[in-house]
Amino acid sequence: MNVNKELCMLCQTCAAVCPTQNIEVTEADIIISECNDCGICARACPLGALYE
């Protein structure tokens, strides 16, 4: 999964729905580790900032 950081507002909705809880949103960045490309975070993103 990729993040368009120009769209991301670090709102953490993606992190809340990630089934493996591998998305961490810090105060300044979004970090995706060990992604299975299930695409759930992309669907949850209110801004369309995540893409495969």
Binding site: M9, Q12, C14, A16, E27, I40, R43, A44, P46
Partner: protein, 396 residues
Amino acid sequence: MSKKLTCDILVVGMGPGGSTAARYAVKGGAKVIAIDKRAEIGTPIQCAEGVSESVFEKLEIEPNPRWISRNVPYVRLVSPSGHVVDLNDERVAKAKFGFVLDRKVFDKDLATFAVIEGVELHLKTRFVTGERLENGMMRVHARQFGEDVTIDAKMIIAADGVASRVGPFFGIKTFIPLKHIESCVQYEMTGMGLDDAIEMYFGKDVAPGGYVWIFPKSEDTANVGIGIIPSLTDKNAKYYLDKFLETPRMKGARFVELNAGGVPVSRPLKETYGDSILLVGDAARVVNPLTGGGITTAIVSGKYAGKIAAEAVSANNFGKEYLMRYQELWKDDFGKSLELFFRAQEVLVSMSDKELDDAARSMLKCDFETLNEVELLKAVAKTNVKLLLKFKKFLN
């Protein structure tokens, strides 16, 4: 050498739930450290900021007028084909004020009260990982201004929001299925003209699984936002909100601020407690799933968590069975209504646009005693068999 801190109770996240928990824990005699990843409590706003009067009683603090952006005396519901249901004092016998908060001020004040009571607050301090030590202590590894910091606590209160990281690290699964989250975008806007109402717009082309809201913040500015259930559509929340901005209602509206966020609309976590840990607010999923409102429930759950945690410290008992009392307390307080609202939300999501229009039409024929969700559901349930069956147990 990394910095080392120790305390009785560590609170992670200083939203309204965490700040309230921290305040009650320290009042109960415990040594409390609180951490928040932000540099300033209260920003960014991820909320429509609406509450009802009762929130101030729950806080047990004299409400400060600075917390309130605007009083909003009534609610306007708009159905998919445009039926307008105004729940104002002509229709509602004992109408109560709703409030739109200024959470930048409110949240920061709640944190300040906690600090005044004696909570040691560490800002720009982010939870990274956690572990249980052999002696039963909870160890948290955090980053603070670019440095590692280790915090050992007898127990932890996780108030770290919808995307809780603390819960999972200590064995409590918190992730939310796609059908149980509202994906939200909000614009603070000015210039579109406002009535004295909280406005809510429904419909599958307006906001699938949720609604568009207009919450007035001042004479001429309002939070204009949307929540949608992502499993019901391929489009995102921003797409639908931008579409709403094209409607005549929003003519002349201009942007002041942008926010985004996710709101859990599930049942609460089955277990909001574990050995040496309690979860409060959004992290525990104690949110009204019908409205998405979570401020009051966060505060109330925070209050009980703080009290029970302090008692656990006094009793030196951090076992799950002891901490279970926390869940009993919040369940006694608002558990039954959350269950009702969850069922109502399930029905609302399943209703077609035509059924929503019918519900609006029948609401126009009703008068209401009070303006609370239970009262409204009762009235609507009378007109809708599906609803009536679902709520039978609750609406006596």
